[in-house]
Symmetry: C2
Subunit: 350 residues, 2 copies
């Protein structure tokens, strides 16, 4: 391919100035139709690709895209209907404003994280040509957040209620309701299945301190509060946020001597795994063992899962608005959650 023609070439060929060619593309109303057509014709003739995207971004200081930071490994993220819902909401706004959506995959930030990998991927954030960035499942303190801050990019969180623009839910309050619900049903021995934030070879019990996600900790806290002082809550994990991992974690607790009467999962996907585990033991969710989820993804209804509904798509939309709508200036948006009681929870059978 011969080095492609530039705006200057087109200008020369059409006998006008480069500015005019630029206007032909960007401000059609600023020049006569005749000249404009002559320019565009010449452009086609020369095989001019149209204004270069990078050059344009540089000069005009806008990228026409917003970024979405994801710490979930992308394949995981897309298999989670919750993440997909957020994405859909964000995409909706982006589409309306003719903006692209740049997905930026990021390794998790963790004591164990390989530093090189982290540094390299943070580099991706630095190189991202975007007008703003939203974060999903990026925990507080992730180095990528510093990069964004130092780049001075508009930014919006979807997870944590920390200073800066954010769209959040009342994590503690939401699981508090779950706890109350379970307490009313008489449950006093509850296992909570959480996303460990990393692959684990064997499922097992973990402590509050080893839970990677701030939100998982908050949800555990809410659950405890809701259940009240008399109850016992055991934290377990089977690894990532997947059905398999929920299954593994639930099997782990179900096989223990002191089997809990209810399993509260940190997410619906995990809860589905827990329900499977319950069934595999020949038990019925809601009758023998209660199971609760979090998120209320579409499949939760069909599965009869008691869960916390959060308006996930709306969350995505809000994020989008925060980044793209200049008239939108709220710093903090708290979306409502609602406990949806279905058939997967029931009174304790003594």
């Amino acid at each position: 391919m011969p080095a492609s023609a530039t705006m200057k070439d087109v200008a020369a060929a059409a006998g006008v100035s480069p500015s005019t060619v630029s206007n032909a593309y960007n401000k059609p109303e600023q020049l006569s139709a005749e000249v404009r057509h002559r320019i565009l014709a010449k452009a086609r003739e020369l095989g001019y690709p149209g204004p270069d995207a990078a050059a344009r971004s540089l000069r005009s200081r806008r990228a026409g895209a917003i970024g979405l930071l994801l710490t979930e490994q992308l394949p995981y993220a897309f298999s989670d209907p919750f993440a997909v819902g957020l994405l859909a909401g964000l995409a909706e706004v982006a589409e309306r404003t003719r903006t692209g959506l740049l997905l930026i995959p990021l390794p998790r930030y963790d004591v164990g994280t390989d530093t090189d990998e982290l540094r390299e991927s943070v580099e991706t954030v630095r190189r991202a040509v975007v007008d703003g960035i939203a974060a999903y499942c990026v925990d507080v303190g992730h180095p990528a957040l510093d990069v964004i801050a130092s780049r001075g990019l508009p930014f919006a969180h979807s997870d944590h209620d920390v200073p800066g623009r954010r769209v959040v839910i009342d994590e503690v309050g939401a699981t508090h309701a779950v706890g109350e619900h379970l307490a009313r049903l008489g449950h006093t021995n509850v296992a909570m299945v959480v996303d460990a934030g990393r692959a684990t070879d064997t499922p097992g019990e973990i402590t509050d301190e080893t839970v990677l996600y701030t939100n998982a900790r908050l949800r555990a806290k809410g659950l405890r509060e809701g259940l009240g002082a008399g109850a016992r809550v055991t934290l377990v994990t089977g690894g990532h946020n997947s059905v398999e991992s929920g299954l593994a974690a639930a099997e782990f607790v179900l096989d223990r001597r002191d089997r809990p009467t209810a399993i509260a999962a940190g997410g619906d996907v995990l809860a589905f795994g827990a329900m499977q585990a319950v069934r595999r033991r020949g038990l019925a969710p809601g009758r023998d063992i209660s199971v609760t989820g979090f998120d209320d993804i579409p499949a939760a209804d069909a599965a009869g899962l008691t869960t916390v509904r959060q308006p996930i798509r709306e969350k995505g939309r809000m994020l989008g608005r925060m980044l793209l709508d200049p008239t939108y200036t709220d710093e903090r948006v708290v979306l409502p959650t609602e406990l949806v009681i279905r058939s997967s929870t029931g009174p304790v059978r003594n």
Copy 2:
């Protein structure tokens, strides 16, 4: 915010040349550790955001991102596990190479499409700062494809077997197998439910010519061929690619005098709708009415849906490789499909 410092400022402050500052960020091995640290320290001190992404892209002629063109309205796309699978595969490759993934929503190209909207959105493609573009569900002839071509960007199709780089399946062959399968079971009156490529108020029969998607046409062709000359195939649609639309279309054909004995859907999601419709009539899929899908999304297994499996995630990976791996030079990749027979198909009951 005070106009942010640039590389030149940092250079001046640190008493080195701008090139050296650039090297400090990009080629650490090209300068002494001491100088490098001095530079980075000064940079922090001045609040320098790091090399500007757009400027960098312009000068180095690479964007660090690839684009994915989607004509599905994004919300629809993400609710389709098939699209999600493709995305996951693509993302996998992107993540490995530290590349971002830019989602570019596009309106469908169609006689009815509003020209302004189309032109505007094609503009998004022109402005996309990417190193290559993949297309999903973008039909042949979409103006966005011309833009890509004229931009000289590496490009890969995932849909159509037309010249250029592409990852495809044998659409006709795949539904041919479905047709044969149904023929063997004795079906001679088959309805095919397709994505109309647009919202329709009322479900109804359509002709080959009014089917928007080339692939839908090919699948209909394969089905007809597989069923053989004696069979009758009716094309129907309920609108977009969704469970609801599959339901509506199937209800439409099931209520007709001359009810078909089998419903072949152009996608699993539509097929799920069709199965629902069958059940609503008090009939059993596979016993009273056979239903087939296409794609073999995860849920198909659980639903017992007979369908065509295509390696969707692999499709995404291939697309990614085509765009990102310079050693990968194949122009055309055909992925294998496989008819997966489950319980939703069975012999005709006379």
